[in-house]
Amino acid sequence: MKTILAHLKKDIVSFGRLAWIWTILIGFDCLAFLDRIPVSHTWHGGMGLVFMIPAVILSILGASASLILQILFVPVLIVQVIHADALTESDAFWRTRPISRGALLAEKALFITLLLAGMALAAFAIRFHSGNASTVATVLQTAVFVSGLVAFAAVTSSFSRLILNFIGIVLGAGVLASMVLGFGRYMESIGANLGHFPMSAHSLSLSNSGQAGTAFLYLGGCLTVVIYQYLTLKTNISRVGLFATFFLAALLQGG
């Protein structure tokens, strides 16, 4: 535990500047609460204007912050934290230090959890503000997005390699899945012409359980790849696992 906390502290110090920006962005998001806090009548006239202008500015910044946070900032921070102790480089600092792979995985999981906990707090504030309490779907979407990101970061050592791997794996799996589905449909049409039905697109797509099934398959696949990669450092097998996850998810989605 001591090692995990020491490593966590090292990552927080290493990304101190980004962590501060993240805190400020989360703070802006949480300002959505202000709208629900009862305000005094002075806001509506006279001195109220003095407070209204910064409040409007803060509100706009808060809304923008939420967008920036979710689209750009958190993914960059997550990838950088994973790449700070790259798993694919034999000369990475941590490889010759007394840190077990399991401890490293636990530390990264803890860091990302802390990061997402802040986001969850901000999301709760926004939901509370808008009166929309549907958070389960948001949590699932975020988990799916982050697990994929972490899986790609775990099998690469730099942002450019991550992008290349992403393009290669997603495109490759997508093309292969569409070929398989196309072949299934072709066989289905032949089967229909010949009066029997040897193979269908439905039989090829694993199930027809819809978006949630795809999301869970994808989530499970990515998490398995992350854990496997951290515990074994067998990058090529992890990449194959990632490809298989995307392929099956595409098949399920396409079917």
């Binding site: 490593h7 090292k10 110090v13 000369d91 010759t96 230090r97 007394p98 077990s100």
Partner: protein, 306 residues
């Protein structure tokens, strides 16, 4: 004495080629072993295998009595490692790096760390990213020494450093090793620097270990022999097969004797082959000269036994 490193018949590949072939090597606890070789000889591959950063294709390697493939945090807490392309968490200051290292090494010694900080003259509040290469190496050395590792592995630590920094680093190592009995395994092609530290030498050439023996033994058995000859003598054939790099020019002959015993024995050898030889002189070789001789001879004839 214990063998702190034990390699038996190890073959390793790097980038698709066999970088190390059938390596057999033992390092005794308490020794300072200089692992020498030209660029691409296989030194770094061997070291990476010893730290379980690469897998051996054949053979076995044990460090601290543990198979390298089973090296874990317990063993790594007793090994200090510093390489020429050492990666450090550069966003940290020296103070942060020390705090981090203190937390992960159970045997961390604060007093020793303070002494090393003074010896290495490192500013504690500066970020590693702002350091020169020499300063980064010093910082890496600090966090590799302050927990009293049983084994210190250095892979080309002085490569690319200016003479002053190199001298400071070597001086620091000499001071540390005067006070404590540690084992050091140092690979380098900066042989003059290593000579100040080492008490045991291994020479690797094209993935093969050509020799491995105490430095004193090497120094005493490798001698340059210069013989003054009367005019009109000789061909190279008169020199014995045992000598290395013979040269005959004008009225003199010279060679390297890899099996020098004493002046009397050399005198008898010279009389046998050059009866008309008028005088001879023997001089010891530096480690660098021994290394160059061995490597050159092996390039000329890989079957030579040294």
């Amino acid at each position: 004495m214990n063998q702190i490193i034990e390699i038996n018949g190890m073959t390793c590949c790097y980038g698709g080629t066999e970088a190390v072939r059938n390596l057999n090597l033992q390092v005794q606890e308490g020794s300072i072993y200089a692992f020498l070789g030209t660029n691409g000889a296989g030194k770094t591959t061997t070291i990476k295998t010893l730290l379980n950063l690469l897998k051996p294709k054949q053979g076995t390697a044990r460090v601290l009595d543990t198979s390298v493939e089973r090296l874990g945090p317990r063993e790594l807490a007793q090994i200090g490692y510093l390489s020429q392309d050492q990666k450090l968490p550069e966003a940290l200051t020296v103070r942060d790096l020390i705090e981090y290292s203190r937390a992960i090494y159970p045997t961390w010694d604060d007093a020793f760390c303070r002494r090393l900080l003074e010896t290495l003259s490192l500013p504690v509040n500066r970020k590693l990213a702002t350091f020169s290469r020499g300063m980064k190496i010093k910082a890496a050395l600090l966090i590799s020494l302050a927990y009293h590792p049983r084994l210190l592995i250095l892979d080309e630590p002085f490569s690319g450093l200016d003479a002053l920094v190199r001298d400071e680093l070597i001086q620091s190592l000499v001071e540390v090793f005067e006070q404590e009995i540690w084992t050091m395994f140092i690979s380098s092609h900066d042989i003059d620097d290593v000579e100040r530290l080492a008490d045991w030498v291994g020479i690797l050439d094209e993935g093969r270990l050509c020799l491995s023996e105490p430095l004193e033994s090497l120094r005493s058995r490798f001698r340059r022999i210069d013989v003054i000859l009367p005019e009109g003598e000789i061909s190279k054939d008169q020199l014995t097969k045992d000598v290395l790099l013979p040269e005959i020019a004008g009225g003199s002959a010279k060679w390297i004797d890899p099996h020098f015993i004493d002046n009397d024995a050399t005198s008898r050898q010279i009389e046998k082959h050059f009866p008309k030889g008028t005088a001879f002189a023997t001089s010891p070789l530096s480690l660098r000269e021994i290394f160059v001789t061995v490597t050159r001879v092996l390039r000329l004839n890989s079957q030579t036994i040294l």
